[in-house]
Symmetry: C2
Subunit: 121 residues, 2 copies
């Protein structure tokens, strides 16, 4: 079910390259990457950028600013959208710089609601 | 001129709390905060989240994904929008969670173009 959800997010998002359900420890629960994304080593990038959301969560907590809901990182070659799914898991969606970021955000939010029961542990 | 630019960004963005031109070393060049933002210690948050954009830039470079253009961090209590202005400086805009993030992004991009000459060193 996770894989189908990820594939659906990627296919519905114009410019979608890949999606992962990631643990904040950097280990993926499930992933779906297009051939283009696999070539660009986006699975390695997903693991690398896990530390970003972990550090953001720590700083936010220290500053009493609440939990991380979403983190969007736009780079020259790819845009990475990360969305908290649970305290220990998050979605990561990779989109081409000219892709439809808004649709990606919408699809992630929808998937979050669908999977909320699964991750409400 | 920097202060006026920052004030204009904050005032034009619905829910805008404060804006900073920040060095990637964590020292602000100029800042403008509303009274509400000053109370919430958003100037401290700005310095704290500098490490986030610095780490993102380092990871992106390691992975050949290019430079950081923009980083948006949505927390329960505030949304932080960071936009690269130059290799060593970036804008940070703090917006209330129910504020107009899209307008904030637009205002930062406009200001980036205006200040590009100043920072093209």
């Amino acid at each position: 079910m996770f894989k189908e959800t990820l594939q659906s997010i990627v296919e519905k998002t114009d410019g979608g390259l890949g999606a992962v359900i990631m643990g904040t420890d950097g280990l993926p629960v499930e992933k779906f990457f297009s051939a283009e994304a696999a070539e660009a080593n986006l699975d390695v990038a997903a693991a690398e950028f896990t530390s970003l959301i972990r550090n953001a969560a720590r700083s936010a907590k220290d500053l009493n600013l609440g939990e991380v809901r979403e983190l969007v990182l736009s780079l020259d070659n790819v845009t990475l959208l990360m969305r908290a799914l649970h305290r220990e898991y998050f979605f990561l969606l990779a989109v081409r710089p000219d892709g439809n970021l808004g649709r990606g955000r919408y699809e992630l939010r929808k998937a979050e609601l669908m999977l909320a029961a699964e991750f409400a542990v």
